[in-house]
């Protein structure tokens, strides 16, 4: 097995996803197939090949540190599932 159920559960936890037993079963199989396919990359000799994270060469894109207008608080909160007194409201963090 390329990836175990235990690893799928671990990764789902890292990604903040709940998986039920059926989804764990399915993803373990599908990810196994996909990762087996990814192993074709091991046929490529990449010794001394630098990695690419960005296809276009751009030097650091600096800008002036100038104060500009930003989205007003009311509009920034307009899409919030819950807000109060100009803040986002979330469930209790500390018991």
């Amino acid at each position: 097995m390329k990836i175990t159920k235990k690893e799928v559960v671990h990764v789902a936890r890292l990604a903040r996803l709940n998986l039920d037993e059926e989804a764990i079963e399915l993803y373990t199989k599908q990810l196994g197939d996909i990762l087996t396919y990814m192993d074709t990359l091991n046929r490529v000799d990449t010794e001394d090949v630098p990695p690419t994270s960005h296809a276009i060469f751009i030097n650091n894109a600096f800008r002036k540190d100038k104060v500009k207008a930003s989205v007003p608080v009311g509009r920034a909160l307009a899409n919030a599932p819950r807000s109060e007194d100009g803040s986002f409201v979330v469930p209790k963090v500390i018991g």
């Binding site: 890292l14 599908q30 490529v44 690419t52 960005h54 894109a61």
Partner: protein, 485 residues
């Protein structure tokens, strides 16, 4: 005359000559939508009232002798581009009720050009898919055969153009999401060089690959849309400060003296017979127009699927961490504790393909696997880029199929994610290299399904793509065919 069938340049000419008004044109487009939309399903949302107001304003401008090539022209926008005050769902339940507080740079540019926005088009959720079947909101069908997929992820935009439910459209391409649906729907789609068009306000999927581009009824329309959307944007630090040429000038040059490369790996087998035939015939046409063709090799092509399906999910897993139910989007309100709220929100808000990719990406980036997967893929990405660099040392453009087969059937690959990923083999390499590509109609399968020719150029050489595509288009009739709906 059926106004909805007009191209952008035809509509512009009639508007400028005052033979039609934008109100008439926009009404004709909405009439067409009423007629066919229940079969095609191109749009997630229509904004008719706004559109008619924009049309009226455009008409006033034209009366004053002002305006440009897009003034009063009805366009469709893929629902991945933020539109201030208009719902932007990205095809996802998690953003189903999200109303952006600002517009993307591309939408702002189109507004400044006084284009009319018809609505937001359907797409695979977060642009993850090749068939638009991963939309959480609705089904989009191929207008040439309603039992088939339109391609994806910009399936809605390609269908809206093909079915005359707009005059032109905007899509986005991360691994082929403009070129492949354009090919499957018989329209023209251009993916610009990475950095050519601002991504500000484009909902992020894989930031090192995402690029916005036009989907249109012909090549001239693509050139017109490119003129409007390209350019540096201080709000996107990955956009490139480089002058934008007038792409319509590329419509005047011939193909004499042009060196065209045919990458052997794109014709190596596993390609549908009708596709091979249509693309080979297209190569002959282009040679007949004065270009010289020669074989080239891009030896790392076969690794593009593996590289892309590690890098794109890795970037996605990071980008999509922002959907936590706190600031915008769906929240599962039952959870009593914060971490549980994150998990319930994301599990209920994201569809299965998005969750699958988040898990692949998280795995590829996780401790112990980073070097073997993400690191290795990033190195092979370098080799794919070097292949292209070498080919473009002697070639102006490359010609290839867009997809190994014409549009497959709805449902055909839904249960086999790897099979779906493998169908992207011919569009992924250019995305990984950040180069530009266009799909232009080049024939039909025996079943009457459109087939596209893919033309690739080096970075920032869109002018040559447009030049080759336009000469080919004008020498053939495929772009004049319309689906019978």
């Amino acid at each position: 005359m059926d106004l909805c069938r007009l191209t952008i340049h035809e509509a512009h000419e009639l508007l400028t000559r005052r033979e039609i008004t934008s109100i008439e044109l926009t009404s004709a487009v909405f009439d067409r939508i009423v007629e066919v939309e229940d079969r095609t399903g191109a749009y997630i949302m229509l904004v008719k009232d706004r559109a008619m107001a924009e049309a009226a304003a455009a008409d006033e401008m034209i009366r004053q002798g002002k305006g440009g090539p897009l003034t009063g022209v009805p366009l469709a926008i893929k629902d991945i581009l933020c539109t201030e005050g208009i719902r932007t769902t990205c095809g996802s339940k998690i953003l189903e009720n999200f109303i952006p507080p600002y517009s993307s740079t591309v939408v702002n540019k189109l507004k400044r050009a006084h284009a009319v926005i018809v609505g937001k088009t359907n797409m695979d959720e977060f642009a993850m898919g090749s068939s638009t079947e991963h939309s959480a909101l609705k089904v989009t069908r191929n207008p040439w055969d309603l039992t088939r997929i339109p391609g994806g992820s910009s399936g809605g935009s390609a269908v809206a153009v093909a079915a005359d439910e707009c005059i032109g459209a905007i899509g986005s391409d991360t691994g082929g999401s403009i070129r492949q649906p354009a090919s499957h729907c018989g329209v023209v789609g251009l993916k610009p060089t990475y950095g050519r068009v601002s991504r500000f306000g484009l909902v992020a999927f894989a930031s090192s690959l995402d690029q916005i581009g036009p989907i249109a009824k012909d090549v001239a329309d693509c050139a017109i849309l490119m003129n409007e959307i390209c350019g540096y944007d201080p709000n996107d630090s990955t956009s490139v400060p480089r002058e934008v040429q007038d792409y319509t000038r590329a419509l005047q040059a011939g193909l004499n003296g042009l060196m065209v490369g045919i990458p052997t790996e794109y014709f190596a087998g596993g390609v549908d017979e009708d596709v091979t035939q249509a693309v080979n015939a297209a190569i002959n046409v282009i040679e007949g127009l004065g270009a010289t063709c020669k074989s080239v090799s891009l030896p790392h092509t076969q690794y593009a699927v593996a590289v892309y399906y590690l890098i794109a999910p890795a970037e996605a897993s990071s980008n999509l961490a922002r959907y936590d139910g706190v600031r915008y989007g769906f929240r599962d309100k039952e959870a009593e504790e914060l971490i549980q709220m994150y998990r319930d929100t994301r599990s209920k808000g994201f569809g299965s393909e998005v969750q699958r990719r988040i898990i692949i990406g998280t795995y590829a980036l996780s401790a112990g696997y980073y070097d073997a997967y993400y690191g290795k893929a990033s190195q092979v990405r370098t080799l794919i880029m070097q292949d292209f660099k070498q080919a473009f040392e002697t070639c102006d453009v490359l010609l290839a199929p867009v997809a190994p087969t014409p549009a497959f059937r709805l449902g055909e690959k839904l249960d086999d994610p790897l099979a779906m990923y493998l169908s992207d083999i011919f569009t992924l390499p250019a995305s990984l290299a950040g180069i530009a590509g266009i799909s232009v109609p080049c024939g039909f399968s025996k079943d009457g399904l459109p087939i596209g020719l893919q033309i690739l150029s080096k970075h920032f050489d869109e002018e040559k793509l447009i030049r080759v595509a336009y000469n080919f288009e004008q020498a053939t009739v495929f772009h004049t065919e319309r689906p019978k709906l």
